[in-house]
């Protein structure tokens, strides 16, 4: 396992390249199939609204998977992610139109740890609101 980023080149405040992830209804259906999570609120607008949601929402775990790409693309090796945790603070709503939702994710190094590891804090936004809380990863650098 070799992250292409060296610990020596990183400091507290180092920013990871920001990325945007468009999410449409089809992406939610595909994630249902791959993950095995077929909760109807991710694909059935009628039931989503009946339980008080504004519309179909993204699986929290799909939002979590997209957000960490900012870390894995930066580190160069997905296996460099040693720890990763989030709180699901706000649903990402996916309207039934040609655009869907847009998830915008940025990351910053917040702490240098032992053994050439760093802590990264992620910010995930959709419609200008934070959708994840305490989204943090520990990354093993080279």
């Amino acid at each position: 396992m070799t992250a292409t980023v060296s610990f020596d080149d990183v400091e507290v405040g180092t920013e990871l390249p920001q990325q945007s992830f468009p999410l449409q209804r089809l992406d939610l259906v595909r994630y249902c199939g791959a993950s095995g999570d077929f909760n109807v609120i991710h694909w059935n607008e009628r039931i989503a609204k009946a339980v008080g949601l504004p519309d179909v929402i993204v699986h929290g775990m799909l939002t979590m998977a997209e957000a960490v790409r900012v870390v894995t693309d930066w580190a160069g090796d997905p296996g460099a992610v040693v720890e990763y945790g989030v709180r699901f603070t706000r649903p990402v709503v996916v309207p039934d139109d040609d655009r869907g939702a847009l998830l915008e994710v940025s990351g910053v190094v917040t702490e240098l740890l032992a053994d050439r590891r760093v802590r990264v804090e992620l910010t995930a936004m959709s419609t200008e609101q934070k959708v994840l809380g305490q989204a943090r990863a520990v990354v093993q650098l080279g």
């Binding site: 396992m1 070799t2 992830f21 992406d27 595909r30 994630y31 199939g33 791959a34 993950s35 095995g36 999570d37 339980v51 929290g60 775990m61 799909l62 979590m64 998977a65 997209e66 960490v68 790409r69 870390v71 894995t72 693309d73 160069g76 090796d77 997905p78 296996g79 992610v81 040693v82 720890e83 990763y84 945790g85 989030v86 709180r87 699901f88 990863a137």
Partner: protein, 152 residues
């Protein structure tokens, strides 16, 4: 109805063995829209020092969600699934997961507490190889909305 705190510490029997396949890793990576070659191309993964294609950081949810379901649908716990939302999730890895790994999950209830009228159920899934090597500890918090006992 509030959840019974005597479930704290309860451990469930190990899951069936799950063989991580290259095809499932690629399917999962496709589903999260991630084109990273380390998820599909053995040579690319080996160039990074992995023995085979590597699993994305949240891949283990495929296994741990089944283990959580054991708890969530435990009739003795009495959780109302329609009131449940996913509050938190974390993964702590001992090493990356690769195609070819044969894994089992042991689920347990780490904590039950009430916050602002909601019951918070903290679950742990220990993911190990069939040889007993711990690979990852997954933690999740399940929120049961409005079911906690109201304080007088």
């Amino acid at each position: 109805m509030p959840l019974d705190p005597s479930f704290i510490g309860k451990r469930y029997p190990p899951s069936e063995t799950y063989l991580v396949s290259r095809a499932k890793i690629a399917e999962f990576a496709d589903a999260v829209g991630d084109p990273n070659p380390a998820y599909r191309d053995v040579a690319a993964a080996r160039a990074l020092g992995h023995p085979d294609v590597v699993a994305p950081p949240t891949f283990l949810v495929v296994l741990t969600m089944r283990s959580s379901a054991q708890v969530v649908f435990d009739p003795e716990l009495g959780l109302d699934y329609s009131m449940v939302v996913h509050g938190e999730q974390s993964f702590a890895y001992e090493r990356p997961v690769h195609a070819g790994d044969e894994l089992v999950v042991i689920g347990s209830v780490e904590n039950i507490r009430s916050v602002a009228g909601n019951d918070l159920l903290s679950l742990r899934g220990e993911v190990s190889t069939t040889d007993g090597e711990l690979v990852c500890t997954a933690r999740s918090t399940i929120v049961s909305r409005g079911t906690a006992a109201q304080e007088a």
